[in-house]
Amino acid sequence: MTVHLIVNGVAHDLDVEPDAPLLWVIRDELGLTGTKFGCGIAACGACTVMVDGEPLRSCSAPVSTVEGTQITTIEGLSANGLTPLQQAWIDHQVPQCGYCQSGMIMAVSALLAKNPHPSDGDLKSAITNICRCGTYPRIRAAVASLAKA
């Protein structure tokens, strides 16, 4: 059974089960390890990618449900250099261990694409990813700097 996926603009024909989770196909079949495994049940957001611009927790999405879509991973986000959001993450020294940050950055990027000037409240209601290092205050500061720009 062949599954057709478009990831970061590249089309792939993959011999995987239709119910294989998108996360593991991205990581193990395509070798794109920037997208992380955190919980496996869409509870933490470490595996967030963008599907047609919408954030998706890939650990719980069967690949068959995203055939024909444009999938963007953290590797695709910065294919043409760092985005302003990624630069803001550096400027505000957001990451600590960094493990959740791919998913965090993808989720916030999806928010900013729709709402370039989110309020602190918009951010808090839209982003429910977990960061165990507790980088939330810096995430808020980084997003606030972009929202003002």
């Binding site: 390890t33 020294q93 957001v94 261990c97 209601s125 982003i127």
Partner: protein, 746 residues
């Protein structure tokens, strides 16, 4: 493990400037290091420092990167003493080789005083032999490359990096002096150049080869604090760019050709064994390679992780319970209470008349409890192991001790150390989970790999397996008795507590109470425990700061001024506490349902005070709006990085205080994943302000000390807002709504 770590790293010692370099290598070990870790055109000039012909300075860090920013802070310390041009400085992980052990540095720091421990004095070679002996005896309890105890900057940095940097600077000056046949005193250094008083100057890189001919001094002069150029600067972290674009490679990202992926099911009850399992249900599934039966677990290996995990989930292994199948959280609680009523409490320390002084005042008695907690780092524990056809073993994983992990894997495989290579990877969070003593993920990966010679095996714990097979922050119960005088001030302070280990000095108070007594009683359980960010301070901090707050309220006094009165002989503590209170505008009016709480804890040589501003809604929902923190770690090597650690510790501790509890039923952990072991997310995260209270104390730790004062500051705020005193965490378990408040006020 906890005990050993506490002894090595947690000991309180006196402040004092120290100028030692006994851990510097003699030249033959530098040659070993060159062979192991130098690239063409670069060489080691001293421990931890490589200098290349092109001026690049590489600081070799004998610690893991688990997100605390130490690669940058330690590099600042070495580069400052070296007078290196910061733009030429980078950092890399030390290999898991005994030449790069940090043990002596941490030992030196623990033994600190003002002189070199005699067994090390002037004897770098003997240091080396000591390490070699210890590393080659797996399980000896020695932790040679550890990252823990908030010890990197104050141990490795102070005793290793600064000394090594200063020694390298001296060697470079000697090389320049030789070139000009001049007196070394005629030179100074600046921005990676050695400059003669005539104005003639040399790049560090061009002197590197000649400088390497000199033996590093064990006792080079170090800078005064006023001379620092890099230490004390909020420099950007080296590791962050690779953490915003998915490039940073954690253990779980290890990829090897034709690798198999492993999913595991461990006996649910700790100590239980695998009785039987049939692999028939999965043996014909796509991609399944092997079902490995271990003593207490079953591992399914497949060509892809999702296939391994699905197969592991569908197996029906039978495990026994090791006789612990009836244990519950309630039965454990009963054990703790019985222990505190038993005659088995062992006296730890007495001050003044101890418990005898309880009769001299009005008695106040309280009982507190904290639950088990999981570490739950974002990267579930995992390891990749390859048992090669030539009989050697190679392992990749994030741990908090690369060299120790290598020794551990060697023992698990029954191989000599030299047949094992360990590749230390950055950790996606650790918080103590990846310290020695908690390496079940290494054991299982190595055991599985031994059965698949020639094929690499990546074993990943699912979140559920990670949460149910952790080494938990222990459940602890603590009883306090105080006698207070007519003003409500404590005359006697008596504290007995349960422990999974031994008595710990973290129970000892900083407050000026004339008569004190402490006792501990061990409660043995089958639940594995381990260090969790801030270790003993995480529970004793909650207990002490809750009880002192209760005493203040019982006295009808303001909790801040009550503490200030008890700290009048402790200027650093008093200053830190007062700074937090002032910055938070302590005492000013708050909106309805809102209140402030304060707490102060010293651990890992750093004093931290938090003021929590909490709102408790009519329905009992708790919302922390702001945390204002003051911290005295002497001075911050990287102030922005230090603040980030305090911020992170506050959020970490808030998750635990509000939501965190691991409960036990039928001998096993009940919680499985983030829905039932929930974390603070953006919406719940407070505004945080961190202020550094500078002092001339010796450097304190950064990673852990922000954790302990949060829970008591929060529950103290909740008491001030509601009149309900929380003596048993987490907050989620306690009803705080209007009805409960009326009940409490009756």
């Amino acid at each position: 493990m906890r005990t050993r770590r506490a002894v090595l790293i947690g000991g309180a010692t006196t402040a004092g400037a120290l100028v030692v370099g006994y851990a510097l290598w003699p030249s033959h070990l530098l040659e070993d290091a060159d062979t192991l870790d130098a690239k063409p055109g670069e060489r080691f000039l001293s421990n931890w420092i490589k200098l290349a012909d092109d001026d690049t300075v590489t600081i070799v860090i004998p610690h893991c990167d688990m997100g605390t920013g130490i690669y940058t802070a330690l590099s600042q310390m070495a580069a400052d003493e070296m007078d290196a041009d910061w733009s030429k400085v980078r950092a890399e992980a030390a290999p898991a080789e005994k030449e790069f052990a940090n043990g002596p540095l941490i030992e030196a720091f623990a033994l600190n005083g003002t002189e070199v421990p005699s067994f090390l004095k002037g004897m770098a070679a003997s240091t080396f032999r000591m390490l070699a002996a210890n590393v080659s005896i797996p399980g000896a309890g020695y932790v040679p490359q550890i990252t823990g105890g908030s010890s990197a900057v104050r141990g490795t940095g102070v005793f290793g990096m600064r000394v090594a940097g200063a020694a390298v600077r001296e060697m470079l000056i000697k090389a320049a002096a030789a070139r000009l046949s001049a007196n070394p005193a005629e030179f100074h250094t600046e921005a990676s150049r050695v400059i003669h008083k005539s104005g003639e100057s040399f790049r560090y890189g061009e002197l590197a080869r000649e400088a390497a001919a000199y033996t590093p001094s064990g006792n080079p002069p170090l800078k005064e604090r006023s001379q620092f150029k890099l230490i004390g600067q909020p420099l950007q972290r080296f590791d962050i760019p690779d953490k915003v674009d998915g490039v940073n490679k954690y253990g779980i990202d290890t990829r090897l050709p034709d690798m198999w992926y492993g999913a595991i099911r461990v006996a649910p009850v700790f100590g239980g064994k695998l009785v039987s399992v049939s692999d028939a249900p999965v043996s014909r599934n796509r991609g399944i390679k092997k079902v490995v039966k271990l003593d207490d677990a079953v591992v399914v290996l497949a060509d892809r992780f999702w296939r391994a995990r699905a197969a592991a989930d569908s197996l029906q292994p039978i495990f026994d319970t090791g006789g612990n199948g009836n244990v519950t959280s309630d039965s454990l609680r009963a054990r703790h209470l019985a222990a505190l009523k038993s005659g088995d409490i062992k006296s730890d320390m007495t001050v003044g008349d101890g418990a005898d002084a309880l009769k001299n005042g009005k008695l106040i008695e309280r009982l507190y409890n904290v639950p088990y907690l999981a570490h739950a780092p974002m990267e579930p524990v995992n390891a990749t192991a390859l048992y090669k056809n030539d009989g050697t073993l190679e392992v990749w994983a994030g741990t908090q001790d690369g060299l120790g992990a290598r020794a551990f894997c060697a023992e698990a495989a029954g191989l000599p150390m030299e047949k094992v290579t360990f590749h230390l990877r950055p950790s996606g969070g650790a918080f103590g989970r990846r310290l020695p003593g908690q390496w079940n993920f290494l054991t299982y990966a190595v055991k599985a790999a031994l059965q698949c010679q020639g094929t690499p095996v990546k074993l990943i714990f699912t979140r559920e397996q990670d949460m149910q097979h952790d080494f938990y922050r222990p459940n602890v119960t603590s009883r306090f008795k105080a006698a207070v005088d007519a003003d409500g001030m404590p005359i006697a302070w008596v504290n007995d507590y349960t422990t999974d280990d031994t008595a710990n000095p973290q129970a000892h108070i900083v407050y000026g109470v004339p008569h004190q007594a402490y006792g501990a009683v061990k409660v043995a359980t089958h639940i594995p425990t381990g260090p969790w960010r801030s270790v003993e301070a995480s529970w004793h901090g909650f207990f002490i700061e809750s009880f002192v707050d209760e005493l203040a309220h019982a006295a009808g006094k303001d909790p801040l001024s009550y503490r200030q009165a008890l700290l009048k002989d402790k200027p650093r503590h008093l200053g830190t506490l007062t700074m937090a209170a002032d910055k938070a505008a302590w005492g000013t009016q708050m909106p309805p349902n809102m209140a402030r709480g304060i707490a102060l804890v010293e651990c890992f040589d750093t004093i931290v005070a938090h003021v929590v501003e909490a709102e408790v809604a009519d329905d009992g929902t708790v919302k922390v709006h702001r945390v204002v923190s003051a911290a005295d770690c002497g001075y911050a090597v990287n102030p922005d990085g230090f603040k980030a650690q305090i911020e992170g510790a506050i959020v970490f501790a808030l998750s635990a205080a509000l939501h965190g509890q691991i409960t036990i039923d039928q001998g096993a952990v009940v919680q499985q994943n983030f829905p039932d072991y929930d974390m603070v997310r953006l919406a719940e995260a407070p505004d945080i302000e961190v202020y550094v209270h500078e002092s001339d104390a010796r450097l304190g730790g950064a990673g852990e000390p922000g954790t302990p004062p949060l829970a008591p500051a929060l529950t103290n705020a909740i008491f001030a807002a509601t009149g309900i005193r929380i003596r048993d965490l987490p907050v989620d378990n306690v009803r705080l709504g209007k009805a409960a408040r009326q009940q409490a006020s009756l």
